[in-house]
Every structure is written in C-alpha cells, then in structure tokens.
Amino acid sequence: METMSPLERLLRGIALTLVVVFFMFPIVWIFLMSFQTNETILRIPPSVVFTPTLDNYAALITGKLQTAAGTLDIAFMRNLGNSVFLSVVSVAVALLLGVPAAYAFARHKFKGSEDIAFTLLSFRFAPPLLVLLPLTQYFQWLGLSNTYFGLIWVYQLICLPLILWIVRGYFEDISADVEYAYRIAGHSWFATFRKIALPLAGPGIAAAGLLAFIFAWNNFVFALVLASADKQPVTVGALAFVTASGIQYGQIAAAIVLSITPTLALALYAQRYLVEGLSLGAVKG
C-alpha cells in the first residue's frame, strides 16, 4: 500500500468509485423515489430536484393506500412482520439443527455420513417450482398450508443445507488436537463442543446464519404458493402495489427501502464477525 504512486492511487480511487456507483446507484435512486409522488417520479426528463414527501411511508404504515380509484387496504406492515418472523425463526431452527449436525459430519465419519450430507445439499439443486406442486398437495392433506409452521418447515430447504455445509467447513478447519487437548484436560465432549468448537467456529456460524437469513428473507415462490395474504412476507406483499388503477412507484420504493433495512443493518452489524471469520486461519496452531 505504502509503495503506491500517486497515479496508482488515483486510478485505484476511480476504479473503486465506479464500482461503488454501479452497485449503489439503484439503491440511492430507490431511496430518492421513496420520497416522491408518482407524478414527480414519472416526469420526463427525470430530476433529482423535488419536494420530499412522507406520504408513501405514511401510506405503508397506516395501511391505507390512496389511489385514483379510491382507498385500498394494504397489509404491508403485517407482511414486514411476517418476513421478520419467518426469517428469524427459520434461521434459528436451522442453526439449532444444522450446527450440531455440521459438527457431527465434521468430526465423526460414520457409515453413510457423506451420503446423508450430500442428500441434504441436493435439496438446493432442485428448482423450487419442481417441488412446489407435490408440496402444496401434501401441505393441504396435512393441514400445513397457510401456517407459519409449514412455511418455516419449507424454509429449512433453503436455510439448513446452507448452514450445514458452511459451518461444517469451519468445524473441519479447527485442529482436532485443540479439541483433544480440552478433552484430555478433563472436559466432556459436550463441554468441548460448547467451549472450544462453537466459539472457534463462531464467525463461520454468524456468516452462515446471515447468508441463510438473506436467502430466507428474499424467498418469494414458497410463500406465494403456500401462504395466503395474512402469512405472506414482503416479497409477496409487494405485488399488492400493482393495482388496477396503476403501479404505485412511490410506495413500492418506500416498501423496498423498509424491506432491505433489516438485512442491511444485520449485514453491517455482522461485518466484523465476517472479517474475524476470514482471519481465523492466522491464529491457528
């Protein structure tokens, strides 16, 4: 870094700026849109100068959408709540099941262990639409359609393989000797799992949890088919803005801003764990 010439620094700065602009522009534009009315959004040519309005947010929070055809009820806040609930509980369940399983797969090679682990991963191979039809049938027979329980169960298809395979790698990276040393010092295998394996794989578990949360949050098709309006997350709920009298761009933008806020906040918070996770290798041995 110190050996960089001013020219190199300049080029580097330009390159970084281009990348940031490329990735951040849509988000910034959406953010600006969320404070505008449909008229200012749709004017030609577009402009960044406008009188900001909080109407879009107000409409979302009160649940009353004013359209040319009259007032429309939307359940956006409920959808947001559903998203939070479904994602948090799904990830929690997946962590609870996946982390011990990952440890077992990492440390104990038993007959068929690779096959079981691969089968779990293969759930990610199949396109969701392929399993949806039979799943819908089963869920109707079992009385699971349109229940949180059923949705969380289906979300395990997304979360569990992800957590299992990422965390397994982190457990495998921990030197077995470190765990042996703790056992020999007189601690049970469970204490060793809790005090040695879990903290050392912590950053990996946090990263996997975060990734699983984002995947769960962004899921669309499972919830679309298996849940009705009162159980649907924001991804499905956003369809409500496409109304008979037009598309409410301002509200959509505000909804997007609200719905990416939790994942963004979580990612920023978890960032330090992710960095720790990457540098774990440096302190081994």
Partner: protein, 372 residues
C-alpha cells in the same frame, strides 16, 4: 505416579496397520522415550494412551485398571502436543487453567496452581496474552504448563521441542529432566531426535512401522542396537556400515579392510563366509601410525569441523567410505594417505540378510551347546 501397560494393541486406518500387535510396560515413575522416524506410529500410540483414539484390538491399562473403553476426560493424564494445540480464543492463563476448571476447583486454587506452574516455566509475565501474541517458545511452555498443572500421574509429551528453534530446544533439553523429576510423574516422551531421547529417557523404545523394535536404556540402544536401522538412527555422525564377509583366522573370525585383517572378537567359524554388515562408530576409530599393528591404510578425502568434534571422511583401498570422529582441536591428517586404528571391541556385526545384530556371546553359547 502410575504404571502403564499396553497389551497387544492393534490400530488400523482403513487398510493400513499403524500399530501392529504392540505391547509395552512402563514402570511407576519411569521416563520412557518413544523414538522413531515419522510415520512409525508414535503419535497414534500416545493418543491411544490419552484416550482420544481407540485401538481396534488390545488393552490399555493405567495403574493396573483397564482404561481401553474409558473416555479421555476420565483417564487423568496430561498431554502436550507437538503443535501445541492451544485454545486460540483463550488467554494463556485460561489455557493452562483448563485442566483445573474441569475439576471444579475454587478460583483461588486455580489461580495458585496456574501461577505456580507458570513461574516454574517462566511464563508468569505473559499469562494475560492470547496464543497469537505469544512467541513460539512461550506457546510451547504454555502447552507444557497446561499438561503439568493438574499434576497428572501419567504425562504424555508428543515431541514438545519439535516446533521450537534450536537454541530453545537446547535450553529445554537441559531444563526438562529437572522439571519432570520435580513433577514425579510417569512420563512417555515422543521424539525423533536421538540426542533428546538419550538425554531424557530412563529407557528408550525404538519404533518402526508400528512395532517396538528394541527397548532398553540409552546406553543399551547405543552400544548394542538390535538392528542396522537402529544403529543408523543413533549417533552423529552416522555409524560406518560396511558390507563384509568374515573369514577364518587362527584366533577366530576376521574381516579385511584395505587388505588388513580386523579381528572380530568372540566370533568363531559359524559366521565365516556369511554376508554381514560391519558397524563401526566414528568415535571408535582413531588415526594412528603406519607402524602400529593392525593399522588400516586409507586416503583422507575431506574434513568437516563440527562444534565439539572434527569428522574426517576417509576411503579404504576399495574406495569404501569410513567416517572418523575425533575431539575438536586434536591433530589429524588433512589430506593424503593415513592409517586407522579400529577398536575391535566396539565393532558391531549385523546379519546382512535380516539386519539383526549378531552377538558373539549367544553364538558362543550356541556353539558350546552343539558341542555338548
């Protein structure tokens, strides 16, 4: 202090047999060194005793009690790993204390215990550091402290000096015997360094390919290695090994080096004509005058000064290499022809076919038996 017995231990990984019907007895308070090249199965054996690896067959008895199916945490052994295996997320203090927290000792007792062993190992000033902030030597001492702190009756040390620099290794080699004696534990010490083995062991068990090939005091192993391979591993410079075929002489068997007869004391006609390997330690050979009886003419090829000794490479008339070692500072020829005197009592004769040491006394008694 306690005893350790291994009975007919077999350990396989997939199709490979790592420990092959191995039995071993370690006496109360004994310091046994497991010595052998890498891949001999030393570390697996140690882990098996610690209880983190299970044998496929055989029994592990600690203090006379069968521990074969007992989990590691109930065996009450202390172990130091070659790669230290410190807990990276804990301070040096917590690392060492881990052996005490499992016993639910009081906080004061833990602090006192850790403080005592840390002082002994001179790491009391770095106890708050995490492993990544410790030097290699401090890491190694922390790992050792963790093994020692609970005063385990059986202490397993897996090549603890392997990963530290030469200076520290030398220091610790001097310090360890005192430390281990103060501990009063039965010790099994794994190493690949013959000097360490000789310095630390009451007895040395030499391992090859999953078997103990010879077990005895350091002097036993050095003076009467049971096999060529063992002779080759002990001693620096390496023992001279020459293919010979003994011949019959008027007073027992002899071999020829540069056309000069070298007597093989104690050996008789039974070895005449047999393909053998003659082992002569470089320090059992000295330069001598041409006029001395039995002086072997050689050509000096090269001289290598090592710290405390000087090693000379010489060639016999048939251009066979012989290394000669003498204390540094003593005079010796630099180049050209020279003569060697071999201490024939210190020579070793191995059967070329199976590599085993041939002992004159056994052969002599066998001969007597046949005669009777």
């Amino acid at each position: 202090m306690t005893t350790l017995q291994l009975k007919n231990i077999v350990k396989r990984y997939k199709s490979q047999t790592v420990l092959d019907d191995l039995s071993l007895d370690v006496a109360d308070g004994e310091r046994l060194v497991l010595f052998g090249p890498s891949g001999a199965g030393k570390t697996v054996l140690l882990r098996l005793v610690a209880g983190v690896v299970d044998p496929d067959e055989g029994q592990v008895l600690i203090g006379g009690a069968d521990m074969t199916d007992v989990d590691a945490e109930y065996r009450g052994v202390g172990m130091a790993f070659q790669n230290f295996a410190l807990f990276p997320h804990m301070s040096a203090f917590d690392n060492i204390a881990s052996a005490l927290t499992a016993r639910r000792s009081s906080k004061e007792a833990i602090a006192a215990g850790v403080g005592k062993v840390a002082k002994l190992l001179k790491i009391d000033h770095v106890l708050t550091h995490h492993p990544k902030a410790l030097s290699n030597g401090q890491k190694q001492r922390t790992a050792l402290a963790r093994a020692l702190v609970g005063s385990p009756p059986l202490l397993l040390l897996d090549d603890p000096l392997r990963n530290v620099d030469a200076k520290l290794r030398f220091e610790m080699r001097l310090e360890l015997p005192r430390l281990l004696a103060a501990q009063g534990a039965t010790v099994i010490y794994v190493t690949q360094d013959y000097k360490e083995a000789m310095a630390l062991g009451d007895r040395i068990a030499v391992m090859f390919e999953g078997r103990i090939r010879q077990i005895g005091t350091p002097a036993d192993i050095y003076n009467t290695p049971a096999e060529i391979e063992i002779a080759r591993l002990f001693g620096d410079p390496t023992i001279n090994l020459l293919d010979v075929v003994p011949q019959r002489g008027p007073d027992g068997a002899f071999v020829e080096l540069s056309g000069v007869r070298l007597r093989l004391p104690g050996f008789g006609p039974e070895i005449v004509g047999k393909a053998c390997v003659l082992g002569i330690r470089p320090e059992s050979i000295a330069f001598t005058d041409a006029s001395a009886p039995g002086a072997i003419p050689v050509t000096v090829e090269a001289e290598t000064p090592l710290n405390e000794k000087t090693v000379t490479l010489t060639l016999t008339a048939r251009r066979r290499e012989i290394l000669v070692s003498r204390p540094a500072g003593t005079p010796g020829p630099q180049t050209g022809p020279a003569h060697l005197a071999v201490n024939s009592r210190a020579t070793l004769l191995f059967d070329k076919e199976n590599g085993r040491l041939m002992r004159p006394s056994e052969l002599a008694s066998k001969r007597n038996g046949e005669a009777a």
